[in-house]
């Protein structure tokens, strides 16, 4: 399709035919406000905020779904448009609980931002009938407060985009509300805890369960030895919460902030990611040698694990039995490290800072307490850490760059890329080559499994072995692969699946960016770039080169896949029902 000539606010423009007025306005450097629009996944024109005036049209049109055509003249900021937007905002506020003072999204709320911009400040305009909804705090990872819901349906679209669809708009008219089938609690439906609804909510209607009080209580308890570990992707996103550019690596400042918050030890989950690779690559080699269940599928992403348990319980034997890096970390702390330091694991509190809301669920899973105590006591999200730093009065942007504590400060490039889709696969391949052939991979870059495509496939020759691999992120894409396996159409040897689209860098626990960022910037790729750069700059790029890992095996675990390694680092899964 060619271009069409249009005018936006009197400015002549040539834009591709068929795009929406909203997209065309970007060419003119104009941002049309929206509340419901999410590119490709929620283009429904429901919120009526993006209304614009088209010369000759009978009424205002919604810019997000109205395509441009030749000769069109659009006004995005006329008095009529502004009046319409203000009225719409007043109507939204008429059923909104307006508890902005302490709302966790205050300052980062898309509704609040627009109300401020349009001067919606007359309380008499928006006194309407209110419905009082109960919170749904049944799930381990989040709380839904429909009193703050504006029915934009972005959460529903995000859940549909994950192929889960456990939430939707129910009833009609004034009674319309977001909930699950038969208005069951979220804990009683097959929600996978991925948190994509949270990062797509424009207001504070859906938020993670805040566990920061528990962390502070542990830090303030002199009896407790509190260890924190940060997942690979946190360094790539935490800066966003402090106004830094998307794609800033803040590893050094993050470590400094954690130390100032009072943690006894600040370690890197990357160490445990290297450990995961040692166990997982070994498990793959064993399965190939001994005729085990293939393809083997990665198990780092607890949202993905819960998905498999609910929707493909018959394929559970394909899952690697390796615990996730977070849980391997905690298990190693409360056994090996506790031994080494002479600390009673009872008095150890392990805190994970994770990009993920499902990690909160994961800490409560059975079979995750190698020492007899939970491997990980508390999992907090990137957002919760940002709030802790803020409320502690730490000026994050001015912090010096500091290094992780010994001995778990060493990590390889392989572990850092865990945070992006394809990263675990690439890291595993680097080590699997060594395990299978006895020689180092000549080129540690496995480019074919990188990038933000939904599903990636590649074929590698490792020694005599044909290694066909697949990588998927987002559970809707995982479904494609799982159906292939189920129907016997897969010839994969190894599959990596991450629950969230793009992997952990786009996890449900990451800093919330407004829809405009999701719509017009490749957020996932920018965040992932941080991790691939860190990998490139690391002198050690393969997990088996990590000397802390070598020491752990030499002095404690024996070798990968040993009896002890199984006791501490591996777990089991449970079939769950799709309908309860």
């Amino acid at each position: 399709m060619g271009n069409v000539n249009i005018k936006i606010n009197g400015m002549p423009l040539s834009v591709p035919a068929g795009i929406s007025i909203l997209e065309a306005a970007r060419y003119a450097g104009i941002e049309i406000p929206t509340l419901c629009y999410l590119k490709k996944i929620n283009e429904i024109g429901a919120c009526r905020i993006c209304m614009v005036e088209v010369v000759g049209a009978r009424s205002l049109v919604s810019a997000c779904v109205f395509p441009v055509n030749e000769g069109m003249e659009v006004y995005t900021n006329s008095e009529r448009v502004r009046h319409s937007r203000k009225t719409t905002l007043e109507l939204i506020l008429s059923t909104h609980d307006k508890s902005c003072l302490s709302c966790v999204r205050s300052g980062n709320c898309e509704l609040q931002k627009l109300c401020k911009e349009f001067g919606v400040d007359n309380p008499n305009y928006y006194k309407g009938e209110m419905v009082k909804y109960d919170f749904d705090d049944s799930a381990a990872h989040m709380i839904r407060d429909n009193n703050k819901c504006i029915l934009c349906r972005r959460c529903i679209a995000a859940c549909d985009d994950q192929g889960i669809s456990v939430i939707g708009a129910n009833a009609r008219g004034f009674d319309t509300h977001v909930s699950s089938a038969f208005d069951k609690d979220l804990a009683d439906v097959s929600c996978i805890s991925c948190g994509q609804c949270i990062v797509n909510c424009p207001t504070g209607a859906i938020v993670e369960k805040d566990d920061t009080d528990k962390v502070l209580a542990a830090i303030n308890d002199p009896e407790k030895f509190v260890i924190v570990n940060t997942a690979p992707s946190i360094r790539a996103t935490l800066g966003e919460a402090f106004g830094m550019h998307i794609g800033t690596n803040v590893e050094g400042k993050m470590v400094a902030a954690l130390r100032r918050l009072g943690f006894d030890k600040v370690f890197d989950t990357d160490f445990a990611a290297d450990l995961t690779i040692m166990e997982e690559a070994n498990e793959l080699v064993e399965r190939v040698k001994n005729g085990g269940v293939l393809p083997m599928i990665t198990s780092c992403s607890p949202g993905w694990i819960k998905y498999c348990e609910h929707y493909y319980p018959e394929l559970i034997p394909h899952l690697s039995t390796c615990k996730s890096p977070q849980q391997m970390f905690g298990a190693t702390m409360k056994t090996y490290y506790a031994d080494k330091m002479g600390i009673d694991p009872k008095n150890m509190v392990v805190v994970g800072v994770m990009p993920c809301t499902a990690k909160k669920f994961e800490t409560k899973r059975p079979g995750q307490s190698a020492s007899g105590y939970p491997d990980v006591d508390i999992a907090i999200t990137t957002r919760e850490l940002a709030r802790m730093i803020e409320s502690a009065g730490i000026y994050f942007n001015k912090l010096p760059d500091e290094k992780f504590d010994n001995p778990f400060n060493e990590s390889t490039g392989a572990s850092t890329i865990f945070g992006a889709t394809g990263g675990v696969m690439e890291a595993a391949l680097r080590t699997a080559v060594k395990m299978i052939t006895g020689e180092e991979a000549p080129n540690p870059d496995f480019e074919a499994v990188r990038g933000m495509e939904n599903i990636k496939e590649a074929d590698y020759k490792v020694g005599d072995l044909d290694v066909k691999v697949a990588v998927a992120s987002g559970t809707k894409n995982a479904k494609v692969i799982m159906d292939k396996i189920k129907n016997g159409e897969s010839d994969y040897l190894f599959v990596e699946i991450m629950g969230c689209p793009g992997g952990c860098i786009n996890g449900g626990g990451q800093p919330i960016q407004h829809a405009v960022v999701h719509n017009f910037i490749d957020l996932k790729a920018r965040r992932a770039e941080v991790l691939y750069n860190a990998d490139k700059e690391n002198a050690k790029r393969k997990s088996h080169e990590n000397s802390a890992i070598k020491e752990l095996y030499d002095t404690y675990l024996g070798k990968p896949g040993s009896h002890k390694a199984h006791e501490i680092l591996h777990t089991t899964y449970v079939p769950r029902k799709k309908y309860n």
């Binding site: 549909d160 889960i164 669809s165 456990v166 939430i167 939707g168 708009a169 129910n170 009833a171 009609r172 009674d175 699950s180 089938a181 038969f182 208005d183 439906v189 309908y579």
Partner: protein, 165 residues
Amino acid sequence: MLKKISNIPFKGTPEQQAKLEAVIAECKGDKSMLMHVMQEAQEIYGYLPYEVQVMIAEGMDVPLEKVYGVSTFYAQFALSPKGEYNISVCLGTACYVKGAQELIDKLSECLGIESGECTPDGRVSLEACRCIGACGLAPVLTVNDEVYGKLTEKDIPDILAKYGI
């Protein structure tokens, strides 16, 4: 009005299930037939309880939540079964101004259920309906196919007694 979800145990028969499965088999693969399947299911079961909606969701390969969303959007779908005796009180304009709401309130009080619900023993259900065209007799209610007109709340116990309720 939010629809009442019945907690009366589901009592579907294998014959009913076979009928529904036949309907689904005809419509499988065409998600636009969801409404049709739901209407047929309501014909078969009288209402759309959880178990029936799960059958529809699985059969039509549509998420259960989407089925439920449709069932709560349209007035024609019921989430509560009809009793052996279904009492339907007309809430059309004429009946309403003649005091139909008081009839519903009295019935609720006598039966211990609200409009849209069924008694736990499955005998009596109560619902409000749109105008049935008997405005001259307002306020009007029906018990199954029998019509009672020009009522006051005092008439309710006698009507119930007639059916042994």
